[in-house]
Subunit: 211 residues, 2 copies
Amino acid sequence: MDDEPDQRPEGRASRRASKTRQRLLDAALYIFNTKGVEGCAIEDITESADVGKGTFYRHFMDKQDALRTLLDFAADDLIKRMPPEQSPAISFEDRITQLIQAHLTFFTERSDLFLLFLQGQTMVATRSAAVPGLHAPYARYIGAIETRIAASLPATVLPEQKRQIASLLAAAACGPVTVGLSISSSKHDVIKTLDLARQSLLAGIKQVLLK
Amino acid sequence: MDDEPDQRPEGRASRRASKTRQRLLDAALYIFNTKGVEGCAIEDITESADVGKGTFYRHFMDKQDALRTLLDFAADDLIKRMPPEQSPAISFEDRITQLIQAHLTFFTERSDLFLLFLQGQTMVATRSAAVPGLHAPYARYIGAIETRIAASLPATVLPEQKRQIASLLAAAACGPVTVGLSISSSKHDVIKTLDLARQSLLAGIKQVLLK
DNA sequence: AAGTTTGTTGACGATGTAGTCAGTAGCGAC
DNA sequence: GTCGCTACTGACTACATCGTCAACAAACTT
C-alpha cells in the first residue's frame, strides 16, 4: 500500500493510446455527421483517423459502442453548459433563459456534437428497439433540465408537470435546430428562431403556470 | 384521336402492379421504422411484402427512391390535415390551434408516417449532403404552414418573420414528439406535451407580435 | 390460339463490410 | 541489451447486400 491503488500509470504508451482513442472518436464524430451512423463503415472511421482497422476494435466493441461514447460525451458537454444544479434560486424566467442559452452556445460552439445528439435522439425516438442502450444520455439530459427548473417553479407545480415542462423546454431548444436545418436555414436564422422560441416559451410557461 | 391521350388503360395487369407497389411501400414504411432507413436491406422490404427482390427494382430505382416517395406521401398527408389554404380569415390564435391540431391527429392516426417524417427530417438536417433530393417535402411542409398563417398575421409582420414563425410552429409541433419519444414517454404524455406546446406558442407569439 | 407486352421471380456475380488474428513496433523494467 | 507487455497493423475469412438478368407467368391484342 505504498501508493493509491487507483492511480493511473500514465506512461508514454498509455498516453499514446488515449490519443489514438481520441483520434478515433473525433473521426467517428465527423464520419457519423457526414455519412450517417448506419451509412458508414468502420473503415471510414479508421481511414479518417489514419489508424489500422484493428485498432478500432481495441478501443471499442463495435460502432454502437463508439456512438454511445460520443452521445454520452455530447450530453455531458451540454449539461455542463447549464447553470449549476444547486445555483441560487432565481426566477424561472431567468432559469429558462439560462437553459436555452446553454443549448445556444452548444449549437454555436459544438454544432458537430449537437447534430450527433439530434441524430441519436431521433434514432431513439423512432426505433428504440434497433438501438439498445442509447436512451441513457437522453434520460440524463431531461433529468438535468428537470432538476434545474424544479427549484425555480412554484411549489404548487406537480412533479408530473415538471417533467412535462422539462420536455417542453427541450423541445423548444432542439426542435428549432432540427426544423431550421431541415429547410436549410442559415446558422444565423436558426439562432434567431431559437431566440424566438425562448421568448415564446417564457410567455407560454408564465401563462400556463398562472392558469 | 378517338379517346383522350392521357387516359389510363387500367387493366387487371396494371391494377395488380399498383397493388404490388403499394404493398412494397407499406412494407418499406414498416421496415424503415423498425430497422431504420439505412440499417435495412432491400430484401428486408421485399421479404416483408412477400414479393421477389427483383420486383422492388421494377417499381423503385433504389431505397432512397422509395424513401422519397414515402416522405412525399407523409408530407401530403400532413398538409391535407391542415386547414384549406384559402379558408376564411380567422384570428391567428385559431389558425395556430388548427395547425397544431393537424399535427396532433397526424400523430395519433398515422404515427408510422409521422415517425418516418421525423426520421427524414433529421437525416436532412444533420447530413443533407448524404441524402440528396430529400429536402423537397420539408420545404413544401414549411411552405404550407407559412401560407396558412400568413393571412392571419397582422400586415405589419415582415415576410422574413413569417418564415420564422412557421419554423417556430413546426418546431413546436415536431419537437415535443421527438423529445417525448426519445425519453420513452407514453403516447398520451406526448399528446399532453403537444397541447402544452400549443398553449405556450399561442401566448408566445401573441407577445412577440405585440412587441 | 398464337403472339406481344407487361409484371414477377430468385439465382447469380460483383462488391462491400464486420470482426479476427498472427505478426510488427514501441515502450518500460531489469 | 533483452525480455515482456501493450498498442497497433492490415491481410484474411466469412458473410451480407446490391443490382442484374434470363426465364417464367399473367394479361392483353389480334
